[in-house]
Amino acid sequence: MTTSNATIPVQHGMAEHSHGAGVPVQTRSERLRSANVADFAPISRREEQYRYVTSEQLAGLDADSLDEYMGDISIKHPEGVTTAWVGSDHPSFGGAGLPEDRPSAAAWGSAEQAYLVTIPGDATAECEVQIGINSDSDSPSALHMIIEAKPFARGTVILDHKGAAVLGENVEIIVGDEADITVISIQDWDTASVHNSAQFAKLGRNSKLRHLVVSLGGKTVRVSTSAEFTQPGGDVELLGMYFADAGQFLENRLYVDHAVPNCKSRVTYKGALQGEKAHTVWVGDVLIRMAAEGTDTYELNRNLLLTEGARADSVPNLEIETGKIEGAGHASASGRFDDEQLFYLQARGINEREARRLVVRGFLNEIIQKIGNEEIESRLSASIEAELERSGS
């Protein structure tokens, strides 16, 4: 696949940019973190975080304060899992991280309570929690969720975002020692919806997190996912899949912080774009700190541009402070739809429309197949079918 219509990967720190009050941040670890929105300057293109998104696109989610989310939240979970609304004085509140940009901080300060879902230590792999965020309002609001997997817990949590919304969201994922969980965040909003979601994961000793972001519907959907290892032996797999139609802006920002030895991370994001001004952004930051010996990391982003007029930005940043690692690599490529694939399929009698669908489905399948849960796989396949149907490809 040839690289086209994509930005050339730029090593962080080498491109011209500035942070905060004109003080250049040399490493990813020095970026400002704060729960206080006042600490963050207004959104400006000069800041790395807002290089691609404008204040206008965020539709008020970067304001000083937002209303609390009052929409519907539905939950389905097996016995043993508990849910509760908790205040910011709860020990788990802020347990996985702090905002790194203005919209996230605005939501943080505006949500006085967080919805806490606790998966007990004796939960098995079959434990599946479904959380539906079914919004029906276009005024900017804030939601704070905390998913806490106790030590040794197993299970899957699905966050399903639907409806009309202008939502600023923070999702904290606390993965206890030896826990092994999957978190899936699906953004299947109505076409006019705007969503800024910051998802923070903190991993304990020998714990494992599989995290999947699926962005399909919504006018502006911006998901920033960060993972921080606190103890050795952690393993994180960050997966993503997105499909942007005409006029849609879908951004994914990743940050994996290898601060301790012998942890593993894999980042794999794939996106398809179609139509005039379909725009996707993928920024993958991986930091391997001095102490993180034995780190094993690889990040990959691939974009498939189906038509003219679509734009995919893809920027991997790998920052390495120690040479004593297992491996570190990244790959990024954005390519046009391959006419030779089309010819091959058509030469076997398959019409152009069906051939395109087959190729797109195949391209995104790689992500779906990594979930390892048939029910969720078939559900996501169906979502992609609906997306392909909607985009008329």
């Binding site: 391959d338 006419d339 030779e340 694939q341 010819f343 091959y344 399929l345 058509q346 030469a347 076997r348 009698g349 398959i350 019409n351 152009e352 069906e354 051939a355 087959l358 190729v359 489905r361 195949g362 391209f363 995104l364 399948n365 790689e366």
Partner: protein, 250 residues
């Protein structure tokens, strides 16, 4: 009885040096059940003929016509041609990541027949054809052409020939890159498919060795974009002995 007619076919291709004429008036008629070998040196336009019949967008027909049972093939899209009964076994089939062979074969069969094949007989047909081509059962779970060896790619092409049952098959240098064992297996597959479905065969090759296994009724020598000489199987024997020098120098 079907008939494929190629009349005075002229084809150009865009190159960096501008428009270049590759085919300069090709005339060829193939009936069901016949085997035609097209032989010629590199760059003579053999593959261009194959891809023009299939409808590859890279090639522009400037003059002449291709008729399938009197229907204008040049007026059809690539997939319409395939559904009308034309098949091209490609020399360099492309990878299609994430699409399994089994899904691909079923989708193609459904497209060609206009309805999904009955599952039980279909699985039996696929297995049978794969066994005959000495292909492992797990092959269908792999993604189309992804990580296939040269030999696997060619077997996969012939597997499709057997399953899709075209009226006319064009084999573009199917023998290239195969060792003798694989060449035999692939050739047997072609002969088997031809026996079963009685299609007209257009076999494009640079070498004569495949003609030991697939016996042509007619041999056409292709030079500089058209047929320079034609005859029976004995012409292949002469080419084997003398090579193409005589034509190239002329």
């Amino acid at each position: 009885m079907a008939i494929l007619q190629i009349k005075n076919l002229h084809v150009t291709v865009e190159t960096e040096q501008g428009t270049k004429e590759i085919l300069k008036g090709v005339d060829l008629t193939i009936h069901s059940g016949e085997s035609h070998a097209i032989m010629g040196p590199n760059g003579s336009g053999k593959s261009t003929l194959a891809y023009t019949i299939a409808g590859h967008p890279k090639y522009t027909v400037t003059e002449g016509e291709i008729l399938l049972d009197g229907e204008d093939v040049l007026d059809m899209s690539v997939d319409e041609r395939a559904r009308a009964g034309l098949f091209l076994a490609m020399q360099y089939p492309v990878e299609i990541p994430g699409v399994s062979v089994s899904n691909f074969l079923r989708t193609a069969k459904t497209a060609i027949s206009g309805e999904a094949p009955a599952l039980r007989t279909w699985i039996k047909d696929v297995r049978g054809a794969m066994d005959a081509l000495k292909m492992d059962n797990t092959f269908t779970e792999r993604n189309v052409n992804e990580g296939f060896s040269g030999g696997e790619k060619k077997r996969h092409e012939i597997l499709q020939l057997e399953l899709l049952k075209p009226k006319f098959a064009v084999l573009d240098e199917t023998d290239s890159g195969l060792d003798v064992d694989a060449l035999k297996i692939v050739s047997e597959g072609v002969n088997r498919a031809k026996e079963a479905n009685d299609f007209g065969l257009l076999l494009i090759t640079h070498y004569t060795r495949i003609l030991k296994y697939i016996k042509p009724d007619f041999v056409h020598v292709f030079v500089a974009g058209k047929i320079a000489e034609q005859g029976g199987p004995e012409l292949a024997d002469r080419l084997e002995a003398e090579g193409y020098d005589r034509y190239v120098k002329a």
